[in-house]
Structure formats: structure tokens, C-alpha cells
Amino acid sequence: MNAIELKDVWVYLDGRLILEGINLTVKERDFLGIIGPNGGGKTTLLKVILGLIKPKKGEVLIFGKSPEEGRRYIGYVPQKSIFDPNFPITSLEVVLMGRCGKKGLFTRYNNQDIEKAEYALELVGMLEYKNTPIGELSGGQQQRVFIARALASEPKILLLDEPTVGVDILIQEEFYELLKKLNKSMTIILVSHDISVISVHVKQIACLNRKLYYHGDKRISKEELEEIYQCSVEILAHLPHRILDKHNDL
């Protein structure tokens, strides 16, 4: 069964067309990178998958179910949230939030939830910081805690929105290693405006600027990129040659 399926999805926000006829099929264990300019609708697309934004037209299926039902299979790492760094909360408590949706109303976290949260922290190598207030961690460490929060719900799909913004390049490498490890057991969709870094690490690439360009693999043509970014490919200075070379070979 496909992990995610979007069929002819149209989204308008405040009367403006944001997503135009999106068709997308994501298979299990895919590692899909979605790139595109800022304002191209990348975050909107993730929110449509999560059921936070209702499309005007079209169908969204998560493992064959509606987003409201299917989102329990999804772990979500939002765009580096503008959270208050002085918010009185420890890493472990942040990660526990990931269990909140699974538990239902009128319940409280039990030992099993804490164990699962601690295991998620261990996976991202942050267990030793479990009692550290989130605001006292570095940007990269915070990002790991937010990934642990998504993992705490034991998801089958991981959605990441611009996860490497504000994280320095060395840490980014480690970060992609972690994702590669996680990809062995779950489907990953990663959204970023940074083509160069993403293209090296993902298995599939899609381009999004209102319309989605996706061929089920890592190929994108020069013309498509130029159309999406509205500028010549040469201007996209650090363009990864891997994408284009492969295409030219064909």
C-alpha cells in the first residue's frame, strides 16, 4: 500500500491559489526531498497531508485513510518553531508531547509513555539531556529533541519541515546520517529550500512551486528547475550536479 497519496489536490488560502492540481504518490520507505522556493507551498503541502488545511478539491490518503485518521501514523517536525526559549519545559517533557495524540483525552502519561519518550531521545542521541530545559540546548540539539518528539509516537511516516535551518553544516551531516538510519524503518518526507544539501541524502526529489514536478526518482530537468525558481540554473549557484548529470545520461 502507498504511504501517502494525493490526487489532484487544489488549495487556496485567502483566495490565492497555493497548490495547483497536486498528484503525489509516496511509497513505504521512500525518502522524498521536496524542494522549491520560499512561498512555493512546501509547508502548505505538509499541512494538507496532516489534515491541518483542507483542500478545495482533490483527495488525500494516508495508508488509504483520511488525514484525520491517518495522521496517527505520522510524526511531524514543524519548521523551527518560534517557540519561546524561556518556556519552562525539559527535553523529556517536549518529547512526551509526541505521545499526547495517541493517549486520548482524560488520560495522563504513564511509565510506558516515559519509557518510549526516553527511547526516542536515545535514538537521536539526546538522552543525557532529558532533564535540560529546551531553551538551554543548542539549535542542533533542539532539532534532535523535536525529531525525538515526532518519533515518540512510533510513526510510520516522518514529515520534516526545513529541519536544517540554523544548524551548522557539520551537525547537518550527522543529522542526515540519523535520517538515513530512520529511513530503514519509516517513510520520510523532508521539505527544504536548500537544493544542494538535500539532493545528496534523499532517495527521491520533487520540486514544488504551486505545481509539483516529480518523476518518482531523483531526476529533475534543467527546464523544470528554471521554471520553478524563475531564474536560470546557473544562478542557483550551488546546484548539485548529481541531479542534472543523471538526467543528461538518459
Binding site: 518556556f87 512526551l96 509526541g98
Partner: protein, 259 residues
């Protein structure tokens, strides 16, 4: 007779501190202090209506506060009006309406000063019972929805992605705030309500990085300031509401030296 008044005042003060301590943490973390102040001022319209119709003004104020709270929330979510504009309109229109209604009622014995700045000695046994119920409801709500409270305070959008009924729970929180605000009017008055709802939580936040401890500490600070404020106002014969708020203010100033 005088003993009864003081007894009511102190018991009401204790329950009010517990509610304010707990709810204040939500108000401070969600930064909705201005909303609570707006609800309090809007409720004055209800007080005027109660006086005009000769019903207990607290009941009409409760109705007004609920509609004010819903109105602010609606303007925030649905209309293009900015939240601070909506609150500004609501609080001034509410106050104006209250003044007009009281003036039409030709009731000259109304303790306007009491409504604006509080008079804890006017608290009746019925008020104490209502406060008791509200305290119980607030504590139960925080007990059963603690994990949702944390998620909503930290990141609403993430809560929605988890499938938590964020909007509904926020309305319940806001209703609790609205009810608390109205019941606090007798104690500290419309103008000073927001102090009791924010200062204890703001002070406790300086001393802890744990949300549960922030709630406990906030209740303790609230209790200290209310009991101390009441005693001072009694012995020095100065207004109770203002004394409680000033006590809080002084504790806040002292806490600033911590850094």
C-alpha cells in the same frame, strides 16, 4: 457580624489565589493577559445591566464575560480584525454600556468604586460557594487535561497535528478565565483583575524551568500576597484589592533582583 465578613473575605481570598495561581500560568505562557483584562472591562456592561434589571450583577456579568471571550476568540480566528483592536473596542464599549445602564437605572447607591477597584469585604457566602466550585472545576480540568495544556501552551499548531481538539480546549480555558475574572471583580475590581492573574505566574516563572513547579509556586505566591495584602489592608485601613496588587508588585520587584 464583622467576623463573618472577614471570614468570607479570607476564604474567598484563598480560593481566588488557587485559581489565579493555576490559571495565571496559562495566561502568562499563552500571553493572553490583555484578553483577560478585556473580558473584565467588557463584563462591566453586564454589571450595569444587572443593576438596571435588579438581578445579581455578577450573573449578568458572567453572561457578558462569556460573550466577550467568545467575541475576542472569534475575531482572532475568523475576522480580519487584529486581536488587540478587538479587545480595545470590547473593553471601552463594555465600560461605556455599563455606565449608561447604571445611569438609566437611577440607582444612586451603587458602589462603583467597589466594582472598579474591588472590595473583598462585600463578598457574600454565595460568592464563596461559587468560588469554591470554580476552584474545583479549574483544578479538575488541569488535572485531566494537563498534557493538552502543555501542548497548547507550547505549540498550538503541533497540537492540531496530533489530533488534539485544540480549538475546543482553548474555548474551555477561555471560559475558565472569563468566569474567574468576573468572580475576582468583587475582590480586586475590574481594573486590578489582570494583576492577580499575571503577577504570581510571572514571578514564579523566574524561579523555575519546570511547568508543574511553576504552577505550584505561582499558587504559593498568590496565597502569600492575598493573605499578606488582606492583613495589611485590615491593619492599615487601606483598600483591600489595591493592597493585594501592591504586595504582588513588590514581590515581583524583589524577584527582579534575582538576576
Amino acid at each position: 457580624m464583622i467576623y463573618e465578613f472577614i471570614k468570607h473575605a479570607i476564604i474567598a481570598g484563598i480560593f481566588a489565589s488557587i485559581i489565579c495561581g493555576v490559571l495565571g500560568v496559562y495566561i502568562v505562557l499563552k500571553r493572553i493577559a490583555f484578553i483577560s483584562s478585556g473580558i473584565a472591562h467588557g463584563a462591566f456592561g453586564g454589571i450595569g445591566l444587572g443593576i438596571l434589571l435588579h438581578i445579581n450583577p455578577i450573573i449578568t456579568a458572567l453572561v457578558f464575560s462569556v460573550f466577550s471571550a467568545l467575541g475576542i476568540e472569534y475575531s482572532k480566528e475568523k475576522s480580519k480584525l487584529h486581536e488587540d483592536t478587538a479587545i480595545g473596542i470590547l473593553m471601552s464599549v463594555g465600560m461605556a454600556l455599563g455606565i449608561i445602564l447604571i445611569s438609566i437605572s437611577k440607582t444612586y447607591s451603587v458602589d462603583l468604586f467597589g466594582f472598579l477597584f474591588g472590595n473583598i469585604l462585600s463578598v457574600t457566602l454565595l460568592d464563596v460557594y461559587i468560588l469554591m466550585c470554580l476552584t474545583a472545576i479549574t483544578l479538575l480540568f488541569f488535572y485531566f487535561f494537563f498534557k493538552e495544556f502543555v501542548v497548547i501552551s507550547f505549540d498550538e499548531e503541533y497540537g492540531k497535528a496530533l489530533g488534539i481538539p485544540v480549538e475546543k480546549l482553548k474555548i474551555v480555558f477561555l471560559m475558565l478565565v472569563a468566569f474567574t475574572v468576573v468572580l475576582l471583580i468583587k475582590i480586586v475590581g475590574i481594573v486590578l483583575v489582570v494583576a492577580l492573574l499575571t503577577l504570581p505566574a510571572a514571578i514564579s516563572r523566574r524561579f523555575t524551568k519546570n511547568i508543574k513547579n511553576m504552577i505550584y509556586l505561582s499558587v504559593i505566591i498568590s496565597l502569600i500576597s492575598v493573605v499578606l495584602g488582606l492583613s495589611l489592608s485590615w491593619y492599615l485601613d487601606i483598600p483591600s484589592g489595591a493592597t493585594i496588587v501592591l504586595t504582588n508588585g513588590i514581590i515581583f520587584l524583589l524577584s527582579c533582583f534575582k538576576e
